[in-house]
Amino acid sequence: MIEGIRRIQEMMEREQYVTDRGIATTAYLAMELKKPVLIEGQAGVGKTEIAKVLSSALGTELIRLQCYEGLDVNTALYEWNYPKQMLRIKMDEGSRRGIDAQEQAIFSDAFLLKRPLLQAISGQEQAPVLLIDEVDRADEEFEAFLLEVLSDFQVTIPELGTIRAQHRPYVVLTSNRTRELSDALKRRCLYLWIDFPTFDKEVRIITTKVPGINERLAHQIAMFMQAIRHVKLNKTPGVAETLDWAMSMMALHQDHLEQDAVRETLGAFIKDRDDVAKLRGQPLEVLISSMNGQEEEDVSAWVQSVTQRLEKELSTR
């Protein structure tokens, strides 16, 4: 591994983000090749987190653009501050200023509301991190517009002229894959797929993010999550759920998993009514009873055997 990649990995770990080489390599290349990164993965695997960590690791500003259906250029780029413009016009009523001068005054920087994309481009000090979150939710026309901005890092405002980025922002796009993004956008970006964490990584995440948790509980929770993600659920719990759950267990002063405690805290990580109904009772019992005394064993073998038993349990219903 070369120095640059290791440095980024260390930087991210310092920000309490448990990373791996794949993530660090892509982040490194994004900076070196000056390309945006497109991050895809299931909900709750920490896609958005990467941008946040990057910005605090680099000590730079994080600018976030949350995408949604119908998001348009006015919301993403800039808008004129109309109330302020009108007030100014009123105040100037007595003066003899010509229309041209007045127009120039109210269509100036002071009346401009900068939305995320313009903010990211017009930063003066240093390159910010621009997070374009859930880009798959925006519609295709917006994607095309985004593509334009991402290739030139400049925008034109009719009243003001062209604004070019002095510092090219680090761009992170995330997608939950509700639709396929255009090939053109994909080609503009480096690609990173983030999977649910492996057992070891998840244990590290828990112990990093939930300080004071005992090792046994962290192991058990991670094992439980590994197994539960093999069950077909409407909403598979992600890392955020793991952490919520670990904190709930801590708050209840539990130091290991047992039936009652799991049942009581189920809502921390299973957030779908059908899923709760599906797991409640026998399946949970199967999972937890098979876990005791297994902490030191081969986790993947355990996951495999317990998933089989769970499947059998669920199919007999």
């Binding site: 591994m1 070369i2 640059g4 990649i5 080489r21 794949g22 390599t25 892509t26 490194y28 290349l29 070196e32 090749l33 390309k35 990164v37 497109l38 895809e40 259906e69 119908g70 348009d72 006015n74 808008e79 004129w80 109309y82 413009q85 009108m86 016009i89 009123k90 100037d92 009523e93 229309i99 007045q102 127009e103 109210i106 798959d136 519609d139 894959r177 509700t178 639709r179 396929e180 090939d183 994909k186 080609r187 970006c189 480096l190 690609y191 990173l192 797929w193």
Partner: protein, 404 residues
Amino acid sequence: MGSVGDAAPRERALYALKSRARHADLQRHVVAFGRELRAREMLVTSTEIMDGLRTLGRVDLGDRHDVYLGLQSVFVSRTEDVPIFDEVFDRFWRRIARVEEEEPGEQDPGSEGAEEGAAQPSGEGKEQLRLTDPDSEGDEGEGEGDEEALPLYSPVEMLAGKDFSRFQAEEMAEVARAVLVIAKRLATRESRRTRAASRSHLIDPRRTVRRNMKYGGTIIELARKQRKIRKPRLVLICDVSRSMDTYSRFLLQFIHALQNTIGKVESFVFSTSLTRVTDYFKGEEITEALDRIAREVRDWSGGTRIGQSLETFNSEWARKLVDRRTIVLILSDGLDTGDAEVLRGAMEELDSRAGKVIWLNPLLGSKDYRPLARGMSTALEHVDVFAPAHNLASLAELGRHLAT
């Protein structure tokens, strides 16, 4: 440039020459690598290849994992392609490892390459050949070979030149009219985006301020805007199995008309497997289109495997074509001979992606039909609208459902 005996410049020149050659070699390998990925249908263009080269200049070439991760983030653009990438990368690494070996002082990546080779002994001979000439067109030849190796369809499924030519003109015109009604419905959904308009109840502050500058800023004229019309996308999946024979021609006509009225329509037909037919209908005469489909769609009037066909659609097309604005229209009688569980799973996935799933069933027209066919009843729970499609009247009725 120096006196005799001054070896340094010459060595330097030699080194430069060597490293340039090495670079050229690398370049060749990366180009071949990209080409191979493209041959496997991955999204690779010259941009990726350039980025690939730039990446290799920035990672440790002796470290397989570094090179692998770096190139992966450049060349892969969807996670489904990772297995293909892995496979092709394996070969690439062996090539590049060879280039590296000639460099003195490098660690010995060749051993790793050999290890990789051992894991896949069958491919070894071919690799060597490829190594000597990565630019040869061997890849394509091989691709053709693969295709030939694919199992052919059984003769029963093959279409024996069906005659679609006996269409009646009035019938066509009527279908076109029904489709127009439907198209109109489809074309009138409002978006959250707006555009300028002269009469509307929404005021556009931006243009209002602009326009009233000429009155010294007193607002006299209001500029208005209205919501843009948003056209949803439509995906048609039409059953052309034997049990649908009486209807499929009629329904294809419907597809043709729809596709030529509304912009974004994608169409597919299936009986035992799925075929995309969007292009067949583009701008062509309906009879020509039908002829071509009859000629080229292999399993016309075969059995029905709705489940598998929809599964194929989900895995190969859905992500590209279906989002929450998409209406998926399935035209089938639901008489499935395949696994009901597969159908249920496929419908569930489709339902979760699409804005609306509409199932049109020609058999629904007959009074004593109840959706008891096993496939149909499992699929129904993931269908938003279940409606008949046996005649023009029922198609016209469809327009009502399409306006969400």
